[in-house]
Point group: C2
Amino acid sequence: MATSWDIAKAAGVSQTTVSRVLNGDPRVASHTRRRVADVIERLGYTPNGVARGLVTRRTQLVGVVVSDVRNPFYPELLEAIEHQLTEHGLKMILSNAGERPEDSYMRVLEEHRVDGIVFTAATMDSEAVRTLARRRFPIVVANRSVDGVECDSVTGDNEGGARAAAQHLLDLGHRRIGVLAGHPEASTSRDRLAGFASGLQEAGAELDSDLVRVGWYSYEFAYREAVELLTIDSPPTAIFCLNDLMAFAALNAASSLGRDVPGELSIVGFDDIRMASWERFQLTTVRQPLAEMARTSADLVAQRIESSHAPYQQLVFPSLLVRRRTTAAPPRKPGG
Amino acid sequence: MATSWDIAKAAGVSQTTVSRVLNGDPRVASHTRRRVADVIERLGYTPNGVARGLVTRRTQLVGVVVSDVRNPFYPELLEAIEHQLTEHGLKMILSNAGERPEDSYMRVLEEHRVDGIVFTAATMDSEAVRTLARRRFPIVVANRSVDGVECDSVTGDNEGGARAAAQHLLDLGHRRIGVLAGHPEASTSRDRLAGFASGLQEAGAELDSDLVRVGWYSYEFAYREAVELLTIDSPPTAIFCLNDLMAFAALNAASSLGRDVPGELSIVGFDDIRMASWERFQLTTVRQPLAEMARTSADLVAQRIESSHAPYQQLVFPSLLVRRRTTAAPPRKPGG
């Protein structure tokens, strides 16, 4: 396989010119571009990411950090992010950060010299995000935001969506409502909880803290807590789950206990991932425009890689309650 | 941040020695190793993947190619593969190949100089796999195999598992059985179809080709075909789906048509991903030991990167029918 040195020699240009051609640099005259392209065609040169990185100081890699690839929310985001990054000539390197300390995956991304990072699961106490933002490294926080950090961000209207969920459950007549919340340091947990509480308050109702379980955005956590909530004396007649995966867990927990949804229990999710509309779920949920949020995150990181001087954009996408078949009026009280 | 040159200077050694220390090369004396490590500790050096790649000619990156990250089968594999690669000091770069021509993602992986590739969704006509195997590039084909290629492979017992599914449905009394198959060029489609057909033949039954739909391992394909199969005259009383995602689609399609599962229709899947045991599905399916297959794939690619001379291993993991609640005896015939 020819190297860029071979190409430069055969085309009678410098290696820098070859690199410029490979990177679409407009400073190369079109006849030179054609000559280099012809030689590349003839000699079968494959651009080498490592060597090219030394010239452009870029790797064309974007790190995308998710917290749990098994939560179907993330594959939906990833697919759209990857697709859009490809449009910008960028390639995704996935970090499935999980509950590992953030410096472990940050080191990996640094070692591989990614050109930018999209964080989809940052926590509010994320030192990594703060440090990178301070260094003006190209980052985008998507889905979850981090307070007081200057960087591009893409989120849904978490408060508004949760307020709509509260109003929907109140309208149906629910007063005793449980909440399954995710990571306490995730802005989504905080904002959705706040929106839900304020929606209740506006109607003169109140969030019962005994019925609020804060933990992880995981199936296992939600399943365990749903079983617990449904087996206390005077269980809630509705559960608001802060993501769809947790709502599926609550649906399954209700099935395991023989509770009819929505006859005996109403369940509302958040996100409206594709599975939410499956007949076996027909989940009432708060829709975020996930594909559009993902595409926008990819666009923003690509722009930031190109130019570090553009003003930061904080974009908030509207959310929308989607009524399906997991919500109804609460059961009449025994003897009522 | 210090460079390896700074480290070399401060420790009074050559840059080659610094690289050897970073890569655990046994040729470095232990007191030298300690001196270099002390300097690294003091100066806060972060090994740079690009620069290190020039010394070791390795990037520590492994490309993992899947066909559709939205199929929950792949996230389960990816999580286990990534976890195990990390144990080997390797990092995953994900290619969500989809239906794109394989040379597009191959070029990307080549550009980033991955040290090895795990193919989880190779098709039998894959030129990329053949070419890389011929060049003795470190590859592992996992889940789907490619005939006549010399490389490490990890698959489940697709024929045996499908034969067990056929026997189970025959034992229950089914004779009119539909099949939803995935990509016609995937070995899993071919082997599961062959195993199912041979299971029927052993019992004197036969696969009715009018009831076999071959297409894609996708929810959308399976849903459409299931609706079609269930609305013909004399529909099948059971459907064998060649993966769990397709089985969920068939379950949802049955729900949309008001068909009771398993009362009016039995459904069997393949894989036993975690969702298969959810109460809302309780899917009878063929279990493959996915986590173990994934871990083994990561181990094999790591070994192959270390040594290209070891004999190739073709590992086939046993599969097992798991009976849950989507299979039962067929309904009695009208008027029977």
